[in-house]
Symmetry: C2
Subunit: 118 residues, 2 copies
DNA sequence: ATTACATATGAACAGATGAGCATATGTTTG
DNA sequence: CAAACATATGCTCATCTGTTCATATGTAAT
């Protein structure tokens, strides 16, 4: 947290480039939110849930069975996904159906897949 | 890890939908790799490094100064970014310049930004 | 109202993760 | 070769995260 000065003896990027880069950095809050968003994608259970919802809305117990995990574990993760506004849900009697909130989810995951498959 | 059967008394999605969803899930390895990739984006230090590299290649000490962090911390994170093949580097004498590996980085971060700004 | 079912939630615990510190490696200059 | 500089890396620790277990909430049927 202390001010850091002159880490390099001499700068390697031109000072005006450094100044420009500094100006173009989004504000701290956006950067934090962005990292928080990607953190949500950074778990294979949640990725699997999202993929499952690509096809169709599903209730909690169907997701649990599909992924061979406990109802509780899935419920906890759905909560995270919902807080990140990646999924939404609707109630139908005792059952609660979850579905993708919007198309950014598909796009982001798609780009990720592109990257890992070179 | 035990086989889980009939979590729901009755299924709420039609069985053929469930079967279809199951078939369309990517294999375990891809899902794992994808989560690993997003995990890398899920840290604000790394996001800030990537943003800095949007503009221009930079050496380690310039990044450290720009983000007001220690050389060690930056070096550790650059290692993570490099392993995920999001950045590459080149040596020029004592200095090592890091730059974005490809354009997926920009696209993925861009989509993330779109999402958080509604 | 009581029971059964679907989902949510709080506490706890094991494993992962990021930063700091000290130090090692690699490169250039004298 | 020695000294200085730029970067990398091993270790440690505090913190965060995901799952399990037990239990609570909400809904429908009898």
């Amino acid at each position: 947290m202390s001010e850091r000065v002159e880490l390099c003896q001499e700068h390697h990027a031109h000072p005006e480039v450094l100044a420009h880069v500094k100006l173009d950095l989004p504000n701290e809050e956006s950067l934090y939110d962005l990292a928080e968003l990607f953190k949500v994608f950074g778990d294979s259970t949640r990725i699997r849930i999202l993929y499952a919802l690509f096809e169709s809305e599903l209730c909690v117990c169907d997701i649990a069975e599909l992924l061979n995990m406990s109802q509780s574990a899935i419920s906890h993760q759905l909560r995270v996904l919902k807080q990140a506004r990646l999924v939404r849900n609707r109630r139908e009697g005792k059952t609660i159906f979850y579905f993708l909130a919007d198309d950014h989810v598909r796009t982001i995951i798609g780009q990720g897949m592109d990257h890992i498959s070179e």
